[in-house]
Symmetry: C2
Subunit: 358 residues, 2 copies
């Protein structure tokens, strides 16, 4: 039996009743925590931190020691898969992630191969195992990957981009080539997530950070279709337990009805979507995760608590909500404000359940 002692998060993802609304935070292990910065300095670089299972495990656990969070998430980077495909991930100071060999030719795209995650991504698989051991079944561990579209943004642009010019040009001028690229990447992500599940990830999340940059039509064809393909290929039960899948397209609030069809157990919402309306739109088919504006953590605790109430009251007394931010936590966040957030989500959601209504 491997169910964690606190399984609130997993139950909420499966839309089962819970005593309170579970919460975790995107990028909860990160630069807003002094202890994270200390480990990172010791590692030498962000990439070395990701590639050391022992240190990845250490930072994964840090936020759980500070806050009563209901889930841990593997500390890693979303670009490990293209790195394993040979694109040469590196981090330029102050510029974010970059690839030494961005995909700019038909030859380069046709040369892409699906990596074996137990070989080329061994350090991630080992980190998952080590974190599971360290968690000792206290809370569940989430594995993750970037979506094929989001990975393709970096693979083709070579780094962050304002307008995804090269990728969108490829999309319109050579859709066949882009479909090939996305297909190989989807297969790589499927194997990668299944390796994480095999190593002990108890839920997995697909981050479609840039799907919201697409038109409604292009989103379905070039992002959603490939997430659906991945989800269809995932191991959904491991060690006798269901492994829920969360799919999150930032900026994708207009397309929830289409997203439901992809087969995930839960959909992520950023803070621009009204979570009460979202629940009506998707019915009882999926759980919802979100939708607190991370910038609201700069407000004083009184303002943070008002925003928590707004979201929880708007969602109402239904099962199937995992509280989270709508985007990664800012490095400038005061950890005391995170305490106020986590505490109020737990406290006020218990009040709502006790009252039986909002």
């Amino acid at each position: 039996m491997t169910a964690p002692r606190n399984d609130t998060f997993l139950r909420a993802l499966l839309r089962q009743p819970t005593d309170y609304t579970p919460i975790w935070l995107m990028r909860q292990a990160g630069r807003y925590l002094p202890e994270y910065n200390a480990t990172r300095r010791r590692a030498g670089s962000f990439l070395q931190l990701c590639k050391s299972p022992a240190m990845a495990c250490e930072v994964t656990l840090q936020p759980l020691e500070r806050f009563p969070l209901d889930a841990a998430i593997l500390f890693s980077d979303i670009l490990t898969v293209p790195d394993a495909m040979g694109l040469g991930l590196y981090f330029a100071e102050g510029e974010g992630p970059k690839f030494e060999h961005p995909l700019r030719s038909e030859t380069a795209i046709h040369a892409l191969k699906v990596p074996d995650p137990t070989v080329e991504l061994r350090y991630v698989v080992d980190a998952v195992s080590e974190i599971r051991r360290a968690l000792d079944n206290s809370v569940p561990l989430i594995g993750f990957s970037g979506s094929p579209w989001t990975l393709a943004c970096y693979m083709v642009e070579g780094g962050a981009s304002d307008d995804y010019r090269h990728l969108k040009t490829l999309m319109l001028d050579r859709p066949d080539l882009l479909h090939h690229l996305l297909g190989v990447t989807a297969d790589a992500v499927t194997r990668y997530l299944n390796a994480q599940i095999e190593a002990g990830a108890q839920a997995v999340m697909i981050f479609d950070s840039w799907g919201g940059a697409l038109s409604a039509h292009a989103y379905r064809e070039f992002s959603l279709a490939y997430m659906q393909r991945i989800i269809a290929g995932l191991t959904r039960e491991h060690d006798g337990e269901r492994v829920p899948v969360i799919m999150f397209t930032k900026g994708g609030g207009q397309w929830l009805e289409a997203q439901v069809e992809a087969g995930a157990d839960a959909l992520g919402l950023d803070w621009t979507t009204d979570i009460g309306l979202a629940r009506e739109r998707v019915g009882d088919r999926v759980a919802l995760q979100g939708n607190f504006d991370p910038t609201a953590l700069f407000a004083q605790p009184a303002g943070i608590r008002r925003e928590v109430h707004r979201i929880l009251n708007n969602y109402g007394n239904h099962p199937g909500h995992v509280f989270n931010l709508g985007h990664g936590i800012s490095q400038h966040t005061n950890p005391d404000h995170v305490s106020a957030l986590v505490e109020e989500v737990h406290r006020h959601s218990r009040v709502i359940r006790t009252a039986g209504k909002v």
Copy 2:
């Protein structure tokens, strides 16, 4: 009688039948045109170009000489109003607009005054008159302003921002102060747009470039409410002609139903919204403007034409559509691709009207 010889744009905004779908492009006078860059060099700086009615007139007309566009838009900057309020607009090379005196204290916010547009913004009013004379009733002239929320982003942050941290903190910690700031700014924008209408602007547009960064609830309270207040105060008929109002919240596609209530004649759509579904959602209450992805202009003309067909076919054979980009045109755009876009919108929309259906 001051109706322009080509009034297709105005008729579409009022949801009257037209022979074809009119088109203009956000930022159509801009750096992708060599003739614009020549005038700008002559002006010495972007701000001097904005502040010279003769040169603002010159660049306003340049795209109309190249392309058969159905409207001209006043060449100006969205930050002229806060500049006239004393914040000291300047442009740092490669960093975009900045203010010398960002609003960071209660005293500074309470000291804000509504400028007299015929005095402090005389150069804009004069540019409108001069452009109208130069257009000689060929196509209509659009006046514009930023929305209060969008202006407040720059006024409080002091420049472009990723997360609007100072403004959102103000919103949660001191909503009373932010409401005061937005109220004064809304009054300033109302007077500014009415001065443009008085000088000859035949339609006006409110650009809410950053409203999409808000939660659904905060959008209604801090952005939409102030645009509604502005629209209620606008001169809607001038010189015997109706003056249509366009309201555009970039990233606001989830909130169209709420936007309809603000009283605009037309709503702008970025490219993430399905324009066919948008028409169903807003019914016959407003015209729609958009929704081509400006990045698609990097594709070859064949790809551009496919995207034009997709949007026009999706909208169908109804009145009330003004074709446009979902965001300003990129400076790296090939003008020949703009020709292909404009030509195909005119050509294919005539085909749809002749066929009587898609």
